[in-house]
Symmetry: C2
């Protein structure tokens, strides 16, 4: 039996999005082109224009679905889960081209004339929820403002991964995250909570 | 008396560099062109090619001289000087087009195929020197690794200014820096030192 039409369309869209992510990741927004992406995806012009009318709309789709490109699931909760999430995202930046391209477009969005902080705000919301959980578990120091710290963490993480990318193509990102947490946790977590957190024993393992 | 030839050449070079910074700041690397920059600088093709052969060499000149574009001079020392420097750089990002363009090129350098962390490393060195001064003044906690913290701070600052740019065109950057220091200082400075630091009373004033 032939594949239902709708299912085929969904698959084609995914194929195009993946090819677009590869090209944006390799060439940046300006170096990418619809024809390069069509070639990579092995779709016809008709197939492409059914889903995406322009390079810009492709970039916006890759940028807009940043959180859907990663699937984080752990048993931990509160601050430990937030710590685990930062290391999980480091591995995704190393290995997941959809997520990596989306982050590149979020950082370099000036290049396509966008000024849209949605991708940043979604991570602020995600981090904020985990910090509220940490508050309920009694892990946070009294004067921590969860929303304020979520903003600091998203900004700091964004820059640390850019610096790591320029320095080492993100091989040293897990080590840089260990350093980041070392200088943030004393202002955030109670001494009792800090005594319990676990970090990747050998952060280099995450790069493998 | 006619201006000496060499002096004129230096001025022309500065004029071109300033025009290039304006164009890179407005259009990014990919949206910029030699002819836009020639127009803005009001120089002839001959004048341009005497100094710069390509858009890429112009971008590299703007990127390479990041630290020369800012002139920081205060009476403070050690950690207070480092804090003052971060707020000074926020004001420069708001008002100094040469510095702003240089930072944009450093963050978006993938767009012109560079992978050069010199601009980041120079700030690491600058921050590291101030942290050594802070160590000599007895301001740092025993387990602070000055070089490690300088790296964390450069990465965190880079990302916080990108986030602030996307959110508010950097109007809220001074406030975001107050938050950043709030969550970093407890891991870095002795309680005695922390009691003495001063921050801009109203960070919004810096945006004026």
């Amino acid at each position: 039996m032939a594949e239902p039409k709708q299912e085929r369309a969904v698959k084609t869209r995914e194929t195009i999005l993946y090819a677009a992510a590869e090209i944006f990741d390799e060439c940046g927004y300006s170096g990418a082109s619809i024809s390069k992406i069509m070639n990579r995806a092995q779709v016809t012009q008709g197939g492409m224009y059914f889903h995406f009318k322009s390079k810009r709309s492709l970039a916006q789709a890759v940028l807009a679905h940043q959180q859907e490109f990663v699937h984080f699931s752990v048993e931990t909760a509160g601050l430990q889960k937030l710590i685990d999430l930062t290391f999980f995202l480091a591995r995704e930046l190393q290995n997941n081209v959809l997520f990596r391209a989306s982050v590149r477009l979020a950082v370099e969005q000036g290049e396509f004339g966008a000024r849209d902080d949605t991708a940043y705000q979604e991570w602020v919301n995600e981090f904020h929820a985990l910090l509220r959980e940490a508050r309920n578990q009694g892990e946070l120091l009294a004067d921590v403002d969860e929303a304020e710290f979520a903003n600091v963490l998203v900004g700091a993480y964004s820059g640390i991964q850019v610096f790591s990318n320029v320095s080492s193509e993100r091989v040293d990102l897990p080590e840089r995250l260990v350093s980041m947490w070392r200088y943030l946790l004393p202002a955030v977590a109670t001494p009792q909570a800090r005594a319990k957190f676990s970090f990747p024993v050998d952060p280099q393992r995450l790069a493998a």
